[in-house]
Amino acid sequence: MEFVEIRVDSRLLARCRWRFHFLSLSSGEPHPLAAEFTLSDPPHDYRESTDLQLLVAGNYVAALLSTYHLTVCNWKTGQTVLVSLGTYS
C-alpha cells in the first residue's frame, strides 16, 4: 500500500503560491503516481490561515479553508472533482 504526505509551503506569504507535495512514505521521494497540478491560490488573507485542512482518502485529496473554499482533487490524475464554497468543515 502506498501512502501520501502533503506539505504546504507557506513562506513568503505575500507572494507565495500554494504547492502540494505528494510523497511516498516508503521512500520519502515524490510519489511516482502523483500528477502535477496546482490548486487555485486563495486570497492573501487566507494564505497564512492555520485552518487549512487536508484529507486524503484513496485517490482523492480534499483541501478546505474553513468558511471559504473546499476543493477536492484526484491526486493521481490532477482532476478537480469538487469545488464548494462556504464550507465549515
Binding site: A62, Y88, S89
Partner: protein, 288 residues
Amino acid sequence: MAFLPENRILVASHSTDLVCAQVPDSIASGPVLAVFNLHAIPLTGDQQVTQTPVAMFGLGFDTIDMHLHYRPNTHSYSPEVVVPFFSSPADHIIALETTNELVTPRGLGTIRALRDIVLIPIVKLLYHVGTAEKEGTCCFVQWDDWGATGICRLPAPPPSLCRNGVSGSQFIPYSESCGVIDVCDFSHAQARVAQLQTSVLESVPCARKEVHLPAGILSSATAALSEDAIVIHEASIVAPSIYPLIYIQLIYIHRNSLPRKRRGFIFSSSKISSASVKQDALWRSLCI
C-alpha cells in the same frame, strides 16, 4: 469534512452557500450536512465546477461553528475475515462538533461558548443518500426526519479529544472523572436502521466501558483512540522550584484486544525536556 464510502464526501455548511435549487424554507437559512458524489462529473485540467450535493441534511439547531470528525478503521478486511476488535464499516459513527453562544441573562453581555458533540451512525446518512442517488435529484432531509431519533448528543470534550477521540464505532466523551476514561461503543447502531422512521425520541444505543488510568495521571491528559488501543499523553512539570523547569511527557497505551488477564496499560514511553534547553532527544521505553 469526511470521506464516506463509495467516493462520497460529507461537509458541514450552510444551505445558502451550496448550489441547490428549491431549498425548503425549513432548512434554507440554517446549517446543514451535505453529501457530494465525487463520481458525478469528471473534469480535466484547471476546469472547475461547483457541484450540487446529492443530499442535504438540515440541523434542527443553530450553530456558529461546526467540525466533522470521522476516522474509519485504518485496515480493511473482507466481511469473511473476523477481527474481534474491528467494527464493521456499517457500525461507524461520525461526530459533528458544534459551538454555540450563550449570553447570560440580565443583559450582562457575558458570552459562554457551548460545545456539543452529535454522534451520527453513518448508516443513517447513507440510507438517505442511497435513496437520493437512485432518484437522481438533490434530496433534502429535515432534522425531524433523520436526526431527531437515533443519534446521540453529548457535551463536547476538549477540542484535542474531539479530533482524536473518534475511531470506527467508538468515541471518548467528556468526563469529569479523574483517573478514568469512558469509551462509548456504538457497534450495534446498525440495528437501528430498520427503525429510522420511528418517531420515538431516543438516542442511539451504546455500550460504555471505563478504562482506569494508572495512578497519578492528571485529568488534563489527552487521549487518542484507535481500533483497539487508547493512547494517553500526559505532560507534567516536576520540581517546579528548580530552574530550568523539567517537563516529563508520558505516553501510555492501553490495548483492548489483549486477553482479559493481561489487559491494562502495557507500555509507556517518556520524553523529558527542559524549558531552557531543548533536550527532546532523550526517550526511554519501559514495560509496566
